[in-house]
Every structure is written in structure tokens, then in C-alpha cells.
Symmetry: C2
Subunit: 123 residues, 2 copies
Amino acid sequence: MLNNAAVDRVFHALAEPMRRELVERLSAGPMSVSDLAQPFRVTLAAIVQHVQVLEESGIVRSEKVGRVRTCRLDPDGLKVAERWISERRSLWERRLDRLGELLAEDDPSDSSPTKSKKKRKKP
Amino acid sequence: MLNNAAVDRVFHALAEPMRRELVERLSAGPMSVSDLAQPFRVTLAAIVQHVQVLEESGIVRSEKVGRVRTCRLDPDGLKVAERWISERRSLWERRLDRLGELLAEDDPSDSSPTKSKKKRKKP
DNA sequence: GGCATTGTTTAGCATCGGCTTGACTATCTG
DNA sequence: CAGATAGTCAAGCCGATGCTAAACAATGCC
């Protein structure tokens, strides 16, 4: 995988609770940095640093006009993480489905983990 | 949001590259801890710790039979992260769509920085 | 011009997190 | 039984990370 570094940056960015809240706020619409900072009890500098991380990860884009920097969500950034997850999950779930089919083929017994009895019959 | 702590744990778990590789390996099928550890150049203890984090986050379930602990992916854990992302992203994208419609309605003035020309007509 | 607003940058601090080491338990195998 | 295998636990090292303070720059407003 070549986009490994991108996946890395995105998940690293989303690991931080305050950064996720910033994303949450931005999902409602674009915002200046100080507007973003308003509900938090931290320095503006801290918010700026978080925004930088989000921006380097591709989750957020921003542009400065005058002295105010306006930040907006970039769906493509989030898509990177979303795809990584859904690929792994669907891979695993397909596997589970195939397994279920195999079990159902000739064994109507309960497939729950407690005392699973493996009666395999290969024709 | 009450499941905030769960979201926190899941994203924290996925932030670590080696843990994501473990998830990747597990998406191919269940595995013992030492099988999981095999391709990595770290101690078994390190892998155990990673597995614990993944398990506390709900991404992985495991059961010990005899002296071997078998780990398997739990799709529900990954779903927590997947839903968080897709909710934020789709919220934002819906907003973009509405904006596009509004712009197309009667005001050709440009709201995006790079000369985007949206000529859409709403029937 | 003078002052407030809005960020940006850097250095330092404190905490967190990943990893190792080493001691230990429990289970299999000959 | 002895020894090997598979994992667990606790302590500690050390680099990464979030936050602050402080100095700075650029823009807007009177």
C-alpha cells in the first residue's frame, strides 16, 4: 500500500478528542479559527496547532483572507479513513458469511461459540 | 453523545500503525497471539499489549483455550468508527449540495476561492 | 497614527504511550 | 517428571504529543 502514510496521518489526526470535536463543528459549516476555538478552554495557539494537524492529514482545508483563516472540511480526507475501515470490515464479514454457509450446509446445530461442535462432512 | 468514550477508544486504538496492521492480519481470519506477532520485530509482550488495546476498544475479541489465545475481528468495533466518520462526512456533503443548489438558483456570484463556475439549473 | 483583532511561531514543560526486560504462570509434550 | 511453549504482569526508559507562555506579524478600525 502506497497511501499508507496518508492513512497514518488521518488516523493520527482523528485520535485526538479535541480534533474530532473540531471536525464535528466543521461538519456544520466553515468557520474561522477563533470561532472554532470559542467553546474550548485552551489557548488559540493550541487550536491552531490542531488545525495544522487536521490540514496536513487532508481532513481540513483552509484559506486566509485578510487576517482571518477560514477552515472547511474536506470529505476526501475522511474518505481515506472510511475506506480503510470498511475494506477490513467487509473482508472479515464476507469471511464470516462464507463460514456460515459452510456450517449451514449440513449442520443445523447452533453456531454460537459456547461448545461449538465441529461436525465436518466433506463430500 | 454518550458513546463518546467508545469512539475515543476505537480511534485511539486505530491510531497506531502496528495495531492497524494487526487488524489487517485479523481481517483475513482468526489468529493466535504468537501467530499475530510473527512478522513483527518486537517482543511478544508488545503484541499482547496492542491486542489488549484493540480488545478494550471493541475491535477485537479473543478467547483463550489451553495456553493459546485466539483473536478475531469484531465488526461492531470498527462500525463505531465507520459511523462516526460517515456521519460527519455526509453531513458536510449534504451541506455542500444544498449550497450548490442555492448558488445555482439565481446568484452566479462565486463563493469558492478558485473560480468555480457552477451553472446548475434546478427543474 | 494608534490600538485592537486574528493569527503564527518557538521554546519549554508535563504527560502519555510504546517497547523492553525480567520474573512469573499455565499448559503441553516427551 | 523436565523442558519447551504461550502468554501475562510490572517496572522503567524514552521519544512523541498537547498545551502554555511569550514574542511577533499582519490586518482592520477609529
